[in-house]
């Protein structure tokens, strides 16, 4: 077993109202960043876990997302990186 550090992004599903993202978008506009179309605020999780290889570490974190880390009704997740730790 090797130790891996797996990073995950969990974000509100597109089309679902994201009040935090909307407030940040408006703040950026008021600061002059007029080109900003939209912002989505989510969570970034870093999970250190033991696994046989990188693929197994990723599969394990995907299962964690499905069960706990993301809400299947309202959120999407993507694995940002898998690195040996």
């Amino acid at each position: 077993m090797t130790s891996y550090r797996v990073a995950v992004h969990v974000v509100p599903r597109r089309g679902i109202l994201d009040p935090q993202g909307k407030a940040v978008t408006e703040a950026l506009h008021s600061l002059g960043f007029a080109a900003v179309a939209e912002v989505h605020v989510g969570r970034h999780l870093v999970i250190q876990t033991a696994a046989a290889d990188a693929a197994a570490a990723e599969a394990s974190v995907r299962a964690m997302c499905a069960k706990l880390l993301a809400n299947p009704v309202t959120e999407d997740f993507e694995i940002a990186s898998v690195v040996a730790a």
Binding site: I16, L17, P19, L68, N71, V73
Partner: protein, 229 residues
């Protein structure tokens, strides 16, 4: 009737629920510790309001894996009544006992009296009311925006699973009367089997003149009416 009220770390409305059952209904209530595996013979289980696990990750997401939730889910599958109030509603949704999810309000934390309209009386927490009846009780939450996809919402409406809706003083479900941006002004729903009910407002904080409203009584009296039916 014996009512079990689950205390999670961070629950803060369990004593109010106990007060409603014992002092207002004159029935038996017991506080159940979340790490136990015993409902102690409860006929009804209440998942109370509060901030279980500090609302970490998502409201209710961690509490739904508390040990006693195995017994609560088994109780629900047997047809036993489960009632989720505020954080308890969030926990029930996270556990898949109720459809949808409760996301952060579209206008931040809200604590205020609201008016809700009884949409359906075919549940153990609305049976003593009448359809169209308007009730006043407080809300106090930051994450109460009921959200589901359109197909789920249409199914809930079609099957009479929308139990309470936020309305204005005239009984209309307007945007202005919606305190959190809930889809279709939904304040409370039940599951397909109708034995699990969740709502964001706090009927246990609207029982006595001192509370400013006694409208919560009709919902608790529904438990009794159902138990005796």
């Amino acid at each position: 009737m014996k009512v079990g009220i689950v205390r999670f770390p961070g629950s803060n409305c369990e004593d109010d629920a106990w007060h409603a059952i014992v002092d207002h209904l004159g029935e038996e209530a017991v506080i159940l510790w979340h790490k136990d595996h015993d409902l102690q013979g409860s006929d009804v289980v209440i998942l109370p309001g509060g901030f279980s696990y500090g609302d970490y990750l998502r409201s209710g997401a961690i509490a739904r894996f508390s040990p006693i939730m195995n017994e609560v889910e088994a109780h629900a599958q047997r047809g036993g009544v489960v009632l989720g109030i505020c954080n308890g509603f969030q926990i029930a949704c996270e556990a898949g006992l109720l459809p949808g999810a409760l996301l952060c309000n579209d206008r931040g934390y809200r604590h205020m009296p609201v008016t809700i309209r009884v949409e359906n009386t075919d549940t153990a927490f609305s049976a003593a009311g009448t359809v169209g009846q308007c009730l006043t009780m407080p809300i106090a939450h930051g994450e109460g925006r009921f959200t589901a996809d359109d197909a789920t919402l249409d199914r809930l409406e079609g099957e009479g699973q929308v139990i309470f809706r936020y309305v204005d003083a005239a009984g209309h479900p307007t945007d202005a009367a919606n305190p959190n941006g809930a889809m279709r002004n939904i304040a409370g729903v039940c599951n397909a089997a109708r034995n699990v009910i969740g709502l964001m407002p706090h009927p246990e904080r609207a029982l006595e003149p001192l509370h400013g409203s006694t409208d919560g009584l009709v919902l608790f009296q529904s438990l009794l009416a159902t138990a005796r039916a």
